[in-house]
Symmetry: C2
Subunit: 178 residues, 2 copies
């Protein structure tokens, strides 16, 4: 996908709707990627994002060690890959290769962008105080990329057990809320 | 709306897609309600939910003091009220009355359910360690109510500046993920 640098101040608008994301880490021998829905914005700017990564996930150790990752936001055309990524472990599988995802170089972190995703957020780990207790990592988004051609992304929103709500129409209301 | 007790083990499926929620507190003279999109699941069962409430919000002090709230999930027919609730403060406005929302009694907490919402989650504050630093409250859902007639709720997902994505169709894939 084409990608253009995206203002950090607008990143919240990408994650606040609650899409499934792919979290990539540089890994040791090869990059890894996991599927994740448990994330939320914490601060507008610099954009802080909390996410939950279980200590049972292979990515947990990689993220703790590298303190860097990329959050990539897929659209519905990637649904099969999103599920496949979520159903196996990077301990056994080179997921980028196995599922036809393209690891592209990021600029500020070693973790790769996912070429097929319409948005990619380069992140550094900002706070690990809640990692041992809940698996909550607080990330700072340090660089954002978006495909400018995608205006109303058909993001995936996990309802559980393989059911995903696909983003519908966007409505606009007069609001003072950011 | 009709409401039926809902299994706590299935609560994650209501919040994981990332809908805008209304957070109610019992308040002092009258119940209060705020609009919130910064939340995520933290644990399946008992269901733990993290959410961000700013110390600038009137609800912040109420939630800190009462250590109880309700998360109510509205659908698109309530979009005007959701925005109106988010654009004023309970310091000045009786929001339930002003916006035609019905405060109904909960069973395990003093905070009210929102009668017009298809799902209501009674919550107790579980952890406040991250409140001072980030406004992150960790809540435990202790009782859940859902209108059984609503199968594919047209939830609202905030994209920023009054733009909301409305939940679209649900697709099902074969998945081992919970």
């Amino acid at each position: 996908m084409a990608k253009r640098s995206y203002p950090l101040a607008k990143v919240y608008g990408l994650l606040e709707p609650g899409p499934v994301v792919l979290l990539t880490t540089a890994g040791k021998a090869r990059p890894d990627v996991m599927t994740l829905s448990w994330h939320m914005m914490v601060e507008f700017e610099p954009p802080l994002v909390a996410c939950v990564v279980s200590n049972r996930d292979y990515s947990y150790g990689l993220l703790k060690a590298a303190r860097e990752c990329v959050l990539a936001i897929p659209t519905a055309d990637l649904a099969e890959q999103v599920v496949a990524v979520g159903n196996c472990s990077g301990r056994e599988v080179d997921k980028f290769q196995a599922f036809g995802l393209t690891a592209e170089p990021a600029t500020l972190v070693q973790a790769p962008l996912v070429g097929e995703c319409y948005a990619n957020l380069e992140c550094r780990v900002h706070d690990t105080r809640m990692v041992n207790r809940y698996g909550i990592f607080i990330l700072e988004v340090v660089k954002a990329w978006v495909d400018p051609a995608v205006k109303d992304p058909k993001t995936l929103h996990h309802r559980g057990m393989g059911a995903f709500m696909v983003a519908g129409e966007t409505i606009k209301l007069k609001s003072a809320m950011k």
